[in-house]
Symmetry: C2
Subunit: 356 residues, 2 copies
């Protein structure tokens, strides 16, 4: 799966709102094109959004000249104001453009920086996959892994985060099966993760989110491996709603609960999960089902039924057997500090004990 590719000055983006049914690439030629694709979720996943926005700014500078820098920056950052990666990437590209000496190749410098960001994200995903596979491998049997939401090439350029770990295990011949939780309300597991696993040729089975705990308790899962949106300084993890129940079930069954994410998701300024505000999204996502902003949705409850729709939940550090980053593994459940990995100190690759 190639979610984004640049060819002859056009950024081609796989339209994720139409997956898995239609594989359609959108040609994006300007900052406005990219911003619109991000806003309507054709491009999603925080790292992927950042890379796309970086290219968007570079494309705009090539198209319309250096004078449009500030306006284009504004358009892109406002596409989804909550995604930090987006502003970060756009600012990096803008800075590289501003540093070009008068008469120099502003657009070229911007494009080079956008490519650099893209390359860094790809490298982080690949490194993280190897680190995670080293941690999980050698269990004495091919692993049956449970995952949640989408953490592959559609969420982060290259191989993704948790799906990079899973793909690496598969490549080493140490994976038996992936159980994919569908991930209501927006069904990223059912729509996107099964699509990616099929393309990768990795055996998988789809389940409803509520089935995970019972299957874990029944001994049908060897490890839970999923991504994260933000990791607090104490090791508490914010991730897609439904994650915490999987963590409780893993702990009760004594199997490893492994969270994969680049170091950029660790937030040293956030002391604990209590400080992470949980975004409440539209009630319509619960009342109906279907591709986000896509046609053909289905109502599940009577109009006017009130809903709660927290988009994330918090898994306390004591349930996180391992946090897998591109720089190494940290074991919050064993009392290791997630900040150690930011200091460049890899906390080692010990095997899971299966007792946390």
């Amino acid at each position: 799966v190639v979610a984004l590719r640049l060819e002859d000055g056009v950024l081609w983006a796989l339209d994720q709102t139409r997956l898995p049914w239609d594989e359609v690439e959108l040609p994006l030629r300007s900052a406005a094109d990219v911003a619109e694709a991000i806003a309507r979720l054709s491009i999603r996943g925080a790292p992927l959004i950042g890379v796309a926005a970086g290219y968007g700014l570079a494309l705009e500078l090539a198209r319309a000249g250096a004078g449009v820098l500030e306006g284009a920056r504004e358009v892109l950052v406002n596409a989804r104001p909550t995604a930090v990666n987006l502003a970060h990437a756009v600012d990096r590209v803008a800075l590289s453009a501003r540093r070009v000496a008068p008469g120099g190749d502003v657009a070229g410098a911007a494009l080079a920086e956008a490519r650099a960001i893209h390359g860094e994200e790809i490298a982080a995903g690949e490194a993280l996959g190897r680190v995670g596979a080293d941690f999980l491998a050698g269990a004495g049997r091919d692993l049956r892994v449970l995952t949640h939401c989408n953490t592959g090439a559609l969420a982060a350029p290259g191989r993704g985060t948790a799906l990079s770990v899973i793909a690496e295990l598969a490549g080493r011949g140490e994976l038996e099966l992936v159980l994919v939780a569908e991930t209501r309300p927006l069904l990223q597991g059912a729509r996107l993760t099964t699509y990616e696993l099929r393309r990768l040729g990795i055996e998988h089975e789809l389940i409803v989110d509520g089935a995970a705990a019972g299957l874990i308790a029944a001994g049908e899962v060897d490890a839970v491996v999923l991504g994260c949106d933000r990791v607090a300084a104490n090791g508490d993890v914010a991730n897609k709603v439904g994650t915490y129940a999987h963590a409780l079930a893993a702990a009760a069954a004594g199997i490893p609960f492994v969270v994969a994410g680049p170091c950029s998701t660790i937030d040293p300024r956030c002391p604990s999960g209590a400080g992470i505000v949980i975004e409440e999204r539209s009630e319509d996502e619960v009342r109906r089902v279907g591709a986000p902003s896509g046609p053909g949705g289905l109502e599940l409850a009577l109009p006017g039924t009130r809903c709660r729709n927290p988009a994330f939940d918090i898994t306390p550090a004591k349930f996180v057997t391992a946090l897998v980053t591109e720089r190494g593994v940290v074991r919050p459940a064993a009392g290791e500090s997630v900040l150690s990995v930011l200091d460049g100190v890899s906390a080692g690759h010990e095997k899971p004990t299966g007792t946390e």
Copy 2:
């Protein structure tokens, strides 16, 4: 909500496949009519199926005479062979018919027995509601309760099981809110429980199943109250898939996890949850969403995506704060035997400690 009613020799059944959008009653006039309505899930919920089947046999005897007894019995029992209540109710009605002296009113005796079963189920649900409300009330605040699946008048005649407890709390002015887990794959929570709560005028909010654990951890739920399909002799509970995760979250948060069901769901011959076979249902229920056997469903994943679809899961006794029956409360998590209630020994109505 009246799921079943007998009027002028016709059994009117609310067609549950069309709820909550259309409230249509089906006129059932024969054993075959009733069997067909059960098979296509127009009538569902083990106790409700039993009552309907009892009436079905009585209607058939009135319509076609005592000679059809064995044939009609066969048709009804085969409508859904796994539902024990169905065979039990049909056999009771058949026995009452066979006991009529030659020349006596066979159809009248059968109808009287069917009415008796109906009345017993209604009485059990009402008693159970009072017992459960006694157990939960007096917490010092109006309760915010989380429930799963459908356990109201659409599942059992009268007031149902867990929803009977919830309605009783509401009637006493001790209920603030019901959080309803949608209950994928068949969405009995989203479709049926919200419908019943709206009719009862009880405040409620719908959530996806994966959101329950995070909301419980965030202190937004005072008790989990749900039904059961089978209770093993050691107190392990089989219930709709997704139940176990709610139990883990309740235990982690220190709130009561309350299971409501009539004594008939306790199976003394089944020593523990390990002996309960979990039914695996059609993969289509996971791959698609929509009313069962209804039109207008929506595909959620690519055709050919393999799925696992366990219909139930097992919650170990140690997580069951209270089992609420029509004869009283038992506290499996505190080591009390669920068999004690079968001996007519009520285990008392102590308040939950909130520490299990």
